[in-house]
Symmetry: C2
Subunit: 360 residues, 2 copies
């Protein structure tokens, strides 16, 4: 069997030790053994999010945690400022609108990072805005946003800052408490190196203040129901036990490497991919490329979908473009358990395939 290279921005390959942890006989969740997992997970997630606050874990996709960040903090007719520079920015706007929250959109050209001044302007024009929603890494364009500078401005207002760090966390620099992010959202199938099905929200004191005033309805995602059980390392509903056991193992691998070293490795691998793309005369799509995933423009005269399916036949899975970018870009992830060796192999196969597709 041909070696398979899964280089998509989620799911990412699962390390063998994590697989083995998940393959052990399942244990019950209302037991001291399972609570030990929960305790260790919270402790390690805090280090990864760089926060002193608890990190709440949900059995859901990342979209569920995005919804949770809206329904726990806002009320009908509240105004939210949403940075819209790609598919996941749009998703925040859709969720807000579904719950009767007014959206002030900051339209950002796809592939660009929002100017902090644009956020500042929106905050000034909408002094009653309750929250700003944005990405750390907008996965659809492989663009990292300047969360640090923007957080600095939001801090001075009464609005809370919600960051979808789902694809960026661990790969792109992120420092929740120091920067002053109020809700940081994560998802399991990215740098965490475990399968999809878990999502996370870390919640600041300022956000807990907003939560007290929020009147949007919620139940499954009610932060209070999770937070009040954190002391007992318990959860309100049956947790996704197997994924949590895998997560604990994956986090222990990350902690052994060191959080700084882990993120630094992503920066180096991303740099390697960008340089390799350059030497193949390929152009990057993003003006502010993320260290989690690199988006590359499909060269003129080449059918993007054909390129991706040609690579797939050789065992290399890249993600294509989403929405309007379909067929126009392809995306190479370099997060979590993806190794430099995998990237070297994949780029060699990309070079071959580009030549074949150009000739044919």
């Amino acid at each position: 069997m041909k070696k398979q290279y899964l280089l998509t921005p989620g799911p990412t390959p699962i390390p063998r030790d994590v697989m083995q942890a998940m393959a052990r006989p399942i244990i019950h969740h209302r037991t001291p053994e399972y609570k030990n997992f929960t305790r260790a997970i919270n402790a390690d997630l805090k280090k990864l999010f760089k926060t002193e606050k608890n990190v709440l874990t949900f059995a859901s996709s990342g979209t569920g945690a995005m919804e949770a960040s809206v329904v726990n903090t806002l009320s009908v007719n509240d105004t939210a400022i949403v940075v819209m520079g790609g598919k996941f920015g749009e998703r925040f706007a859709e969720i807000c609108r579904a719950y009767g929250v007014k959206v002030v959109a900051i339209d950002v050209e796809w592939g660009h990072s929002p100017a902090p001044s644009a956020v500042e302007k929106a905050l000034k024009e909408n002094p009653g805005a309750k929250a700003v929603f944005m990405q750390l890494c907008e996965t659809s364009t492989a663009t990292v946003y300047d969360v640090k500078s923007i957080a600095h401005m939001i801090k001075k207002t009464s609005a809370i800052m919600v960051v979808d760090a789902i694809s960026g966390l661990g790969s792109d620099e992120f420092n929740m408490d120091e920067w002053g992010v109020d809700i940081a959202i994560g998802g399991s199938q990215k740098a965490f190196m475990i399968p999809p099905g878990l999502s996370f929200c870390a919640v600041s004191n300022k956000a807990w203040g907003a939560i007290k005033k929020s009147a949007l309805p919620k139940y499954y995602y009610d932060f209070n129901k999770y937070e009040c059980l954190m002391e007992k390392s318990d959860s309100p509903w049956t947790p996704a036990i197997t994924l949590a056991v895998g997560l604990q193992k994956a986090l222990s691998i990350i902690m052994a490497e060191g959080v700084c070293e882990f993120t630094a490795r992503h920066a180096k691998d991303a740099e390697f991919v960008r340089k390799s793309a350059g030497s193949l005369k390929l152009e990057l799509f993003s003006k502010s490329p993320s260290n989690a995933v690199t988006a590359i423009k499909v060269p003129d005269g080449i059918d993007g979908e054909k390129l991706i399916s040609g690579l797939k036949l050789k065992g290399v899975t890249f993600a294509g473009g989403q929405g309007d970018l379909k067929g126009k870009i392809f995306r190479i992830a370099h997060m979590g358990g993806i190794t430099r060796h995998d990237l070297e192999d994949a780029l060699r196969i990309l070079k071959e395939t580009l030549e074949e597709v150009t000739l044919s």
Copy 2:
């Protein structure tokens, strides 16, 4: 190492073949390979729910699917009739109230099945009621409800019937289309023999009519978003890939046994546990015992929590009572991959432990 017997009403033991399927390298969800899994899962779930309708799959605990059944069908100030005979009946009421839905409670003594006449009376007294919520098996009391008779009455009204079949499906007799159930809810960690983290809703035409009129806000659980992608075997958000791959294998094991044979085996195993309890002079808690799980009263003079921890030391995990029933009952599950041999061993160890606890 001592053999472990996990005989709780979720999670249940995972068969080795299912474990192995989940331990294979993860695949991407927007691929033909994954869509084949999704297609096979929907086809087999239909057979298990006994419905011609699609079965929507969510990455969430069962509680998420319970919430989904409320937010997709109702509006603020609607009236819902809720059968309250245990912890999970109460959960439906809590969800309804969290969303501003008025609850007409049918209080049922715990351990009893609701009288169909009580539901009939509530429907007559509340002709505008939009929905009736009840369990197939109320897990907290190990009681099976007479869904068939109650469905027959609800059918004649404009209300829809929502059944939390999470713990009962596959174990207790259930026939969605023939009985006229409008929304049937399932969860992965029960007879499905896979870990928690997936939940299901099958939706009737009558329920789709209610969905059109529903004004409660929703996004992650929006049935329309799932249903419109079913034809392509796709899903709106990243699915819990590994759990789905395990589910496909588990369903193929159930289909090989045959759905009728699978349910009949549960009936025989439940009968065996009830008879064995009787020969140990133990009294059943439920007046209408489920074939998924058996609740047994802790005999007078025995400390229920001590009994459960004593059994745990010998490798046998039973569930205790929840809420007011803590320390008063223990529950033995006989669903999914739990074998007769496991039950025989566990009941032998129960006999030993009861003698020890009585002597000490």
